[in-house]
């Protein structure tokens, strides 16, 4: 069992010491996504079954005959993590009811990247959420198909250069706005939707724990910096996540039964997005005019979110 350096000093009561995603996996150095998965496992604890989509997290953790998983884990295909998770939930429910397994409560979790969630796995996720399975679905969003070599997805932000939407003489990279996945999940009227980022580990853990406590479907959209695909130094993954939040590019919020809350880590005043863009090779080609255009959209979207948080808050606030 690995112990985080100085772990006992800084958060002994807040973070589960047990590693359920063990060391020895094959993720790139500086991968924020694998850190997020590790934190998720700590928050979930042992009584968990995870269904993973094909993707970076699947191939780095399950190279036969080895495994990094200390919790029950299954991978079937790319587009069906949510459907596999719904089957696991149904199977465990039936077996528990018939007394064929012990009666402990087991949380079922589906996980996939942005492509596996927002593109190819979209239908399976929508179906699972609509059916109301008791499960958490976590999208680990690194904003492109990183596992196959940095191709654009519907999670790739406007202007980012990828291998299938590259910046060129007549192109400025991604030509579309990032799909607003958390809002689509809010529209499913599920009990809990949240955004999170491993740069804010305690906030992320709290949100996973909240999702775990809910009987029914919940969705967590986890923003996970990918130094390899974003072309930034591997030691900057955490600061990139923080900048995404501080600039409002990826705001942290929760929606509980339709009530919006901005997360405590959200700053009152946002930094300009150029602070976030400048450290990343994928945005290097953008002109000041293009950055201004994206800034305007980020500002507008954040305003919409704060308005929702104002008008759609709970009665107790």
């Amino acid at each position: 069992m690995n112990i985080v350096e100085n772990f006992d000093l800084y958060a002994p009561r807040l973070i589960n010491k047990k590693e359920l995603l063990s060391a020895g996996h094959r993720a790139c150095s500086g991968c924020a996504e694998v850190l997020a998965v590790r934190l998720m496992c700590k928050a979930l604890g042992e009584n968990t079954v995870i269904a993973s989509a094909t993707g970076c997290m699947e191939i780095v953790s399950s190279m036969f005959p080895t495994t990094a998983w200390e919790v029950p884990w299954v991978h079937v295909a790319f587009e069906n993590a949510a459907a596999v998770a719904s089957g696991i939930e149904a199977g465990l429910k039936a077996l528990r009811k018939k007394g064929r397994i012990d009666d402990r409560y087991v949380k079922v979790v589906g996980m996939a990247g942005d492509g596996g969630t927002m593109d190819i796995g979209f239908q399976a996720l929508s179906g699972a959420m609509e059916r109301g399975h008791d499960m958490i679905y976590v999208c680990f969003d690194n904003e492109a198909y990183m596992n196959t070599g940095i191709q654009r997805s519907s999670g790739t932000p406007m202007g980012a250069s990828t291998t299938t939407a590259p910046a060129g003489k007549v192109s400025s990279g991604q030509k579309t706005w990032k799909k607003n996945m958390p809002e689509i999940l809010v529209a499913h009227n599920i009990p809990y939707v949240a955004t999170a980022c491993p740069s804010y580990p305690l906030d992320f853990i709290r949100k996973i724990e909240k999702a775990k406590s809910i009987k029914g479907p919940s969705y967590i959209h986890c923003f996970s910096a990918c130094p390899t695909g974003w072309r930034c130094p591997s030691h900057q993954a955490i600061s990139m996540g923080r900048l995404a939040v501080e600039t409002g590019v990826f705001p942290l919020f929760e929606v509980e039964h339709g009530h919006y809350h901005l997360s405590p880590d959200m700053p009152k005043k946002l930094k300009p997005i150029k602070d976030y863009f400048k450290g990343q090779g994928r945005f290097r080609h953008l002109t000041p005019v293009e950055i201004d255009m994206i800034q305007e959209k980020v500002t507008t979207e954040f305003k919409k979110l704060t308005e929702k948080a104002k008008f759609l808050k709970t009665g107790t606030e």
Partner: protein
């Protein structure tokens, strides 16, 4: 022994599955499978089956969900047809590689395009190499029996593979036949509880569906091939046991008046009974005709096929699917390949028949016999022909 009742076959299949103490079913509507799903949902709604019934948003998710459920150790069932099976296609080899004993009914239907909802075998044929055990029902009683047997075969510790029961869409699924439904006690006696090898549960964490590169992939494929081949012993044992308990015996290859036949017809699925009537007609006219019915498609029953055709001079293989630009229909290719090394093999003729629900009547089977009887019987002339096609 249960009573003989007039029932629609799809409803009877659902009733039979209901007797098997399933834990979970995931289904998506598609014609002509839907009556199975509808009746299963009735049984769950009336509390007659204690199972989780998951109405998924696609067949892809139906197969995904039964894979997940089977991974937990739940006895899991689904049913589909045609486009639904094509949508599941990606997941079928994964289910078998994961050694999950899922059972599935396939109400066989033509694959688009053009869209056609009626019966042929073009949906199951592309699934040939998925690593599933595949059996074909000839009539409603077989559909019931094979559906119950499927669980026992799939879950046997020496098998641990998914099984699909092919039931011709409409021709069988929507037919009302006098059927003998086993009693709950009889099924309980026949079918033991499912004891999974490993399950997705925190009591003993396992990793399923791991990633394997060139250093292990070939070994895993070989292991799956061995598993499918070895399943035949269990299939035969289960069929023998069924025969003893219920008086209806099952064999990988059934024959009818084949022992002394000069000319044989081979069918798979519901057309066997019609072809059988043509054999009787020819026999009445003094022609030594016979019939071979292939029930077990995977694992392929090589010795049984060889034995069934060894005395014949001519063999007509009927196919309900096309291999476009290929060597002939898929069943024909397999039979030809199986008999290739036999120096005394019959001349093999291939007719593509009954596509997209086109009826093939007794006189047409008789016509195929007559046409082939008139041929000189040159072995090298093996070829295929669309029967009854308008040119």
């Amino acid at each position: 022994m249960g009573k003989r009742l007039g029932m629609e076959v799809a409803v009877a299949v659902a009733e039979a599955v209901g007797l098997c103490n399933i834990d979970m079913a995931a289904v998506y509507p598609i014609t002509p499978q839907s009556h199975i799903a509808e009746h299963l949902s009735d049984l769950v709604a009336d509390g007659k089956i204690d199972a989780e019934f998951v109405t998924v948003e696609s067949e892809h998710s139906a197969m995904s969900a039964v894979i997940g459920a089977s991974g937990t150790g739940a006895r899991s069932y689904t049913a589909t047809s045609s486009q639904g099976l094509m949508l599941m296609h990606e997941l079928l080899p994964i289910a078998s590689a994961m050694r999950l004993p899922i059972t599935m009914a396939i109400a066989n239907r033509a694959v688009s395009g053009p869209l056609n909802i009626l019966n042929d075998h073009s949906d199951i044929m592309p699934q040939r190499d998925a690593g599933w055990i595949a059996v074909f029902a000839e009539n409603g009683q077989e559909a019931i029996d094979l559906s119950i047997q499927a669980f026992k075969i799939a879950e046997h510790k020496d098998v641990m593979l998914p099984v699909c029961v092919n039931i011709d869409g409409f021709q069988l699924t929507h037919m009302v036949e006098p059927l003998e439904m086993p009693t709950q006690e009889e099924v309980n006696q026949f079918l033991p509880p499912f004891v999974p090898h490993a399950t997705l549960h925190p009591a003993k964490p396992v990793t399923m569906g791991a990633f394997a590169m060139s250093d292990y992939f070939t070994e895993i494929m070989k292991a799956k091939d061995e598993a499918v081949k070895n399943s035949k012993k269990v299939i035969l044992d289960v069929w023998n046991e069924w025969g003893k308990l219920f008086g209806r015996s099952y064999k990988p290859v059934e024959t009818y008046k084949a022992d002394d036949a000069d000319i044989l017809m081979l069918t798979m699925g519901s057309m066997g009974e019609t072809a059988q009537m043509a054999v009787d007609e020819l026999r009445d006219r003094g022609v030594k005709a016979g019939l071979v019915k292939l029930r077990l498609w995977r694992p392929f029953p090589f010795p049984e096929i060889k034995a069934a055709v060894k005395n014949a001079k001519k063999l007509i293989v009927t196919d309900r699917a096309v291999s476009f630009g290929g060597p002939g229909g898929p069943v024909f290719s397999e039979i030809k390949s199986a008999l290739f090394a036999d120096t005394r093999r019959p001349a093999i003729y291939n007719y593509i028949i009954g596509l997209g629900g086109r009826d093939v009547a007794v006189n047409e089977f008789a016509g195929m016999f007559e046409k082939v009887l008139a041929d000189t019987g040159n072995v090298a002339a093996d070829t295929y022909e669309f029967w009854g096609v308008r040119e």
